[in-house]
């Protein structure tokens, strides 16, 4: 349906893309104004997955809130758990045992690998290559199997909680993770063999959706998109948390800032994550995985039969919940999409008065008009895929 635009002598065609669309990576709607094949104006409309999670946090205790964090960026559930736990631990001034910290790094990097695998699969599928999707799901299923073995749930594990982890990982599981980590680089080689030098893939992504470093910084873009634009900002290196300063890994950057660079940066990041997993498994110390602070983590069940204090702590934790002192905390972590953080505001009671998620996809999607305007309609799909947005965290 052609709409005559009276401000312009050209006739611009208004096309609506989404919210139900096979390639918009969830419920994203784009209002496109086209001049033939060229996108003249692009206006993203979000909010189709607004779940009111930030309001729901205020009605729940802090521990119940952990469950909500899984469901925001649903391809990075353990990463969300970690960001929330870190903010709360800052408020509570709580010490986490060594073993829990190293296991947290291991789990979060495994989740990063799983998320980037999904990125490769869906980007390839959007651009017409259907085989890589099935290849990456083979490895992703292995990672989801690990999560199921450790927690019982494939995706929304809620395993990383304020105060440590839910329980320890068994030696057999760590053994399997170790074998997987050793085998992974050759799998990444097989995905690269399919896509990286593929002339059709390169034709569709090279020079498409160029974003400069300064534009990216002004728009609040972060993560692989920012690094592909040339800005070497990785919060794991610049503001280390969970002991990341003791791991040896590189931060890949791009120089052009197009879709192909964003793909290459994520593939390189996957290789670095495998290295981090290897180091985490090698330097895993013995010890507990929960803090001793009974105001944060419940006592073990055996203690309940012996100690009255343990019973009282257990009772208070299950009725009132964790009660951090009044204040606020924000810890920025590096999620597969960029800077993620939970701004938790507490008034001293068992329920927060405000929890705000700084979602990387919300800011990244603001860059979409800059990426798509001036390009062809077919390139819009490549641009969205290369930004790797998750509407669950963008709309919250």
């Amino acid at each position: 349906m052609a709409v005559a635009d009276t401000n312009d002598r050209r006739e611009l065609l208004t096309v609506n893309m989404g919210p139900q669309h096979p390639s918009t990576h969830g419920v994203l709607r784009l209002e496109l104004k086209l001049d033939g094949e060229v996108v003249v104006h692009c206006r993203p409309v979000i909010g189709y997955l607004h779940t009111g999670i930030e309001k729901t946090f205020e009605a729940k205790t802090y521990l119940q809130g952990v469950v909500l964090t899984d469901r925001m960026d649903y391809l990075n559930p353990l990463g969300n758990n970690l960001a929330y736990a870190l903010s709360l631990e800052k408020l509570l001034q709580c010490e986490i045992p060594e073993r829990a910290t190293v296991l947290r790094v291991l789990l979060v990097e495994m989740t990063r690998i799983a998320s980037h695998l999904m990125f490769i699969g869906s980007m390839a599928l959007d651009l017409g290559a259907s085989s890589p999707f099935l290849y990456v799901w083979r490895e992703r299923e292995k990672i989801l199997d690990f999560f199921e073995r450790m927690s019982g749930v494939r995706m929304m594990t809620s395993f990383i909680r304020p105060g440590g982890l839910v329980r320890d990982l068994e030696p057999a599981l760590l053994e399997s993770m170790s074998t997987f980590t050793d085998a992974m680089p050759s799998y990444i080689d097989s995905y690269e063999e399919l896509l990286t030098a593929n002339p059709i893939f390169k034709e569709r992504t090279e020079g498409v959706g160029v974003l400069s470093g300064q534009d990216a910084l002004d728009l609040g873009v972060s993560g692989p998109t920012l690094r592909a634009a040339g800005v070497a900002l990785d919060l794991r290196k610049s503001n280390p948390y969970c002991g990341y300063e003791s791991y040896d890994f590189a931060v890949p950057t791009g120089n052009v800032g197009d879709c192909y660079d964003r793909y290459l940066v994520r593939v390189a990041e996957m290789r670095e994550s495998v290295k981090i997993c290897r180091q985490a498994l090698d330097q895993l110390p013995e010890g507990p995985v929960r803090t001793d602070d009974r105001k944060v983590m419940p006592p073990p069940r055996e203690e309940l039969a012996k100690s009255m204090e343990a019973v009282i702590h257990h009772f208070k934790l299950w009725t009132e919940g964790i009660k951090p002192p009044a204040g606020e905390a924000y810890v920025g972590v590096e999620s597969p999409r960029g800077e993620l953080g939970f701004y938790v505001v507490s008034d001293g009671s068992g329920r927060p008065i405000r929890v705000h998620e700084r979602a990387p996809s919300f800011a990244n999607l603001q860059a979409l008009p800059k990426l798509t305007e001036g390009g062809a309609v077919a390139d819009v799909v490549a641009c969205i895929a290369s930004l790797d947005p998750i509407m669950g965290e963008s709309d919250r």
């Binding site: 910084l217 002004d218 728009l219 405000r354 800011a363």
Partner: protein
């Protein structure tokens, strides 16, 4: 040059400087100084990377909403938080910080704070014709009573 509490206090004479639990220096300025404070933070103090804008409903009788801005310095690798209080309006910083566009729309949508000078202040999360601003703490969560058998005598079955 790293930010110190005293250095920050001298840059913002009219502001209050605190360091909360997360170690991020926080400056609170009056609403009229907001735009100047943002420029100072981004250029004088070199925290030019924009991170976040949000609001907290403090439920005080005056100046109920607390606007929270977060910036980051690529050189110092630190965050800096800027706060101000308002009842209903605030100046928009979108002209100098393009990334704040959607963030201000979200605060408008969920809290009802209008940003003067914003290019497109419309609802972003909720449908266009929605009435109300749900994230205000005076607005109930809108939950539906769940049909448990044990509470049927109280709520009846739905």
């Amino acid at each position: 040059m790293p930010i110190t509490e005293s250095g920050l206090q001298s840059t913002f004479e009219a502001g209050e400087v605190t360091i909360p639990a997360d170690g991020i220096p926080t400056v609170r300025v009056p609403l009229d100084d907001l735009t100047r404070a943002v420029d100072k933070i981004r250029f004088e103090l070199d925290h030019s990377r924009f991170v976040d804008v949000t609001a907290v409903d403090r439920l005080t009788p005056e100046d109920r909403f607390e606007l929270v801005y977060l910036f980051y310095s690529l050189r110092e690798k630190t965050w800096l938080r800027l706060k101000t209080r308002t009842d209903s309006e605030a100046p928009s910083i979108t002209s100098s910080v393009p990334g704040a566009n959607w963030y201000e729309r979200e605060v408008f949508d969920l809290f009802g704070i209008t940003f003067k000078g914003h290019p497109d202040l419309t609802r972003i999360m909720l449908p266009e014709d929605w009435q109300g601003h749900p994230l205000r703490r005076t607005v109930p969560i809108g939950a539906e009573p769940v049909d448990f058998t044990v509470t049927r005598s109280a709520y009846g079955s739905s």
